[in-house]
Amino acid sequence: MTTPAPTQTNKAGLTRNDYKGLPSTLCAGCGHNSIASQIIAACYELDIVPEKLMKFSGIGCSSKSPTYFLNRSFGFNSLHGRMSSIATGALFADPSLRAIGVSGDGDTASIGMGGFKHMVRRNVPMAYIVENNGVYGLTKGQFSATAEVGLNLKHQGTNQYMPVDICMEALASKATFVARSFAGDPKQVKELIKAALSHDGIAVLDIISPCITFNNQENAVHSYTWGKDHEAPLHEISFVPALDEIELPGDFPEGDVREVTMHDGSTVVLKKLEKDYDPTDRGKAFQMLEESERNNLLVTGLIYIDTSRPTLLDTFDLVDTPLNRLTEPDLRPARETMDKINALMF
């Protein structure tokens, strides 16, 4: 009889299984399933204790996915376009918890655009993933606000309206972390999720995640084929956890590598590819996005980062104990204050 191989655990003492969710009910081959796998991998590799992370979503195919990862995390699959507000309120319950949100292009860029932009401008500490496929899936294939002009869809005709660029919207709302990735590039997706989860503030991660049922035609910009043919990474990104020594892959001349130190001491290493790109310059980020659209490119990578801005929770001088652990003596003013308050009335 052979002894079974010891189950591998991470520094939290947990196995990969501890990060899993229920089996996906999305279409086989859906980009969202690939992203859910990368969320599981990223959380495992970051040694996150599942109970210390909250997950949120709105309504739509993408918003179903919190069921498919992190069974041991609290979460809320909320209302269409309203993930931003429920997450904002929930984060006050226990500021020691991290948060990840999964939304779609309909959920974020149409019905939830207002809430999205306000969540961004408040710098709510959450990794905000948009699984962007340009189409409404659960309602069977209508155009979303990120669909490109001229896109033809069965039963829908041709889209006439300009697409919303989620990264542009995030930048315009003063996001402190903006990234774009492609579900067909799982390694980059995982590294960016790790970086987003380590960012202390709003981290908007727009992931082109093809809908294989309704919008995966070769010429559609949210398809696997188009993405693979047009992806232009800004840099090669790798995430180095705090306390780990940064080992650069191979030999690099000075100036070819940028390091961004995150709030928790981890580092995002950006290795230069064709051109140098500075992700701390918002103006250049806008320019880069403009150019990539003009040049028909799917530019991916860390587009913008600012680690200096306080988060929404930082602006409240809250007690150290999580608010949801406070009890009556903390919450109800003492009896003798009542007379004083009455005396303040006329």
């Binding site: 609290f74 809320f76 006329f346």
Partner: protein, 596 residues
């Protein structure tokens, strides 16, 4: 001059919105209160920042009645735009004070007319020219005080309160009041019968508005999170939280045990509130009709996901934008059934400033006990006007945090629990909240169909069983909500049911009915929905039931008719809604008319 009329008349002051007259009006109200005279003040103001006419009516009632009256025997006007209307409104024998710079003809011989040199006296004030327009209002305070007999000391106390004891503004304002009173003494001869004399009927009482009471009540209820969006007439509720939370709810080292956040709209305000409530915080939002309509979708999610939140609706008249600065009880049916699908909500119906305070804290206990949204329906009249009230009473019960499981509880049960299981037979399940570190603690909240373990389910039987449990929980709610206040009357054949801010009008109307040799009435004031056993019993006892409310459609009558269809033929509506609080005379007449 006819016989003296003492402490039993109304005084209306007509000014221009934004001119600072509110300080003067409240000063008169408070001075009268300080003299021991029962008073009530009603601000009739436009939806405008500056320039439109506004009226403030103070009722003095030696008998202690505080409902609005239609008539005002004493009228003061500083506003040329409303002058003709104000003059015409004075009843024969009444008094009319006016700024003498308006100079229109006064063509009435049946009233006492008093000119006031407002501009001339304001010029003598010891203030910068920019404040002169504001301080001019103190001229009418001084003149009216002298002619009616309001004590100068009481005026000074009122000013001192308003300016928080700051000597400079108190002195400059009081200086104008005194100068105006002196001027009146030398130049005016009293020719009207209205007098103010000290009484002792306000000792032990305080003055406050309902929104302030609601906010302070919420602070004592342990509010931890409030998200809101500005809307008249609810804004001052959360703004008042921002005044008292820092005073009452910081730790010794100055850290906050609460967070207040202004949202981008009402959709987000309630969404944040639901997030915080789900997270285990005592969470609230406050709004008015238009905001409430926007909150409908999240209200349904809170109901179905069983998330405790408190929603204050300070009602204004609708539908639609309606009249943003006028009152009504028009959101009752909307709130009762807010959101789509099968559901009914728990409503609290404060009928006084004191109850605004009480329900301020009680609402959180009910929300956490029942794991459901609790709606508190105040209105503009109750929320924004100053009322005499008993002092706020410290909560008489400990906080009820409801059925919540923490790590130690789950260890005891070896992690066995189910989020939506009715283990106690009252329809109320147990919950855990984020931050609970037990590996079996987590669950995924959702507005989609779910089983006892909060897992997504499309199973028909599971759906129906869960909805049946929610209905059972609603039955439990009936046993926990505030009971109605009942006044019986020997030999009464008819009963009155009312709720909310119509209470003062109904109280007085019952006396007026007696004076008119009308029918004897029993009275039940509802303080919550759904109907409790007491309401059913009350209705059964009487031949006819008049349901008094400030809306067009008789919304409480609709709800009660559904709750007890066999009794519905007894119900008669006494409903009326023109944006103003009901008067006792109207209530009396509405009943007498139908009793003919």
């Amino acid at each position: 001059m006819t016989e003296k009329i003492v402490n039993n008349f109304s005084l209306t002051i007509a000014t221009v919105n934004g001119s600072g007259s509110q300080t003067a009006n409240v000063t008169l109200l408070r001075a009268l209160f300080k003299m021991g005279i029962p008073v009530s003040g009603k601000n009739l103001f436009p939806s405008n920042i500056q320039g439109l006419p506004t009226w403030y009516t103070i009722r003095l009632s030696r008998d202690g009645f505080t409902a609005r009256r239609d008539e005002a025997e004493v009228v003061v006007t500083l506003n040329p735009a409303s002058f003709a209307r104000d003059l015409a409104s004075v009843p024969p024998g009444g008094a009319f004070f006016y700024a003498d710079d308006i100079k229109p003809p006064i063509d009435r011989k049946d009233i006492a007319a008093y000119p006031m040199p407002v501009k001339a006296l304001a010029r003598t004030a010891d203030v910068s020219p920019s404040l002169r327009e504001y301080i001019a209002n103190m001229v009418y305070v001084g003149v009216v005080a002298h002619v009616l007999g309001i004590e100068m000391e009481a005026v000074k106390q009122a000013l001192s309160f308003h300016f928080k004891g700051k000597e400079s503004p108190v002195n400059s304002n009081f200086g104008v009041v005194q100068a105006a009173a002196d001027w009146a003494k030398q130049n005016l001869t009293k020719s009207d019968p209205y007098f103010v004399e000290p009484m002792d009927k306000t000792s032990g009482l305080i003055m406050a508005d309902g929104n302030t009471a609601a906010a302070i009540g919420s602070v004592y209820g342990g509010v931890q999170f409030a998200a809101w969006y500005p809307i008249t007439p609810a804004s001052s509720l959360v703004e008042t939280l921002n005044v008292y939370l820092p005073q009452l709810r910081k730790t010794k080292d100055g850290k906050a045990t609460y967070a207040v956040l202004q949202a981008e709209d009402e959709l987000a305000a309630i969404g944040m509130t639901v997030g915080a409530g789900w997270g285990g915080l005592r969470a609230m939002t406050s709004t008015s009709g238009p905001g409430l309509s926007l909150m409908a979708e999240y209200a349904g999610l809170a109901y179905y996901s069983e998330t405790p939140i408190v929603v204050w609706d300070v009602q204004r008249i609708g539908p639609s934008t309606g009249l943003p600065t006028r009152t009504a009880q028009g959101d009752l049916t909307e709130t009762y059934f807010l959101s789509h699908g099968d559901k009914q909500h728990v409503l609290l119906l404060p009928g006084s400033v004191q109850e605004c305070f009480e329900f301020g804290w009680k609402a959180f206990d009910l929300a956490e006990r029942l794991q459901t949204p609790i709606f508190v329906l105040s209105d503009l009249d109750l929320g924004m006007n100053q009322w005499m009230t008993q002092p706020f009473e410290y909560p008489d019960t400990d906080m009820d945090r409801g059925k919540i499981l923490w790590e130690a509880d789950l260890e005891k049960s070896n992690g066995v629990w189910a989020r939506y299981k009715d283990v106690d037979g009252d329809g109320i399940p147990w919950r855990t909240v984020p931050g609970n570190a037990h590996p079996a603690s987590a669950w995924l909240g959702r507005g989609t169909g779910h089983d006892e373990n909060a897992r997504y389910s499309e199973d028909s039987k599971t759906w129906e069983a869960n909805m049946a449990r929610l209905k059972k929980k609603y039955e439990t709610a009936r046993t926990l909500i505030p009971a109605p206040v009942i006044e019986t009357a020997r030999g009464a054949k008819i009963g009155i049911i009312a709720y909310g801010s119509t209470a003062p009008a109904v109280d007085e109307a019952r006396v007026l009915l007696e004076q008119a040799n009308g029918p004897k009435t029993a009275y039940l004031r509802m303080r919550a929905l759904p109907c409790t056993k007491d309401v059913h019993e009350f209705v059964k006892k009487y031949e006819r039931i008049y349901i008094v409310e400030a809306n067009r459609d008789g919304q409480m009558k609709q709800i009660l008719s559904m709750a007890m269809p066999d009794q519905a033929p007894k119900f008669r509506s006494a409903c009326h809604s023109d944006g103003l609080p009901l008067t006792a005379a109207w209530v009396r007449d509405a009943i007498l008319e139908q009793e003919k």
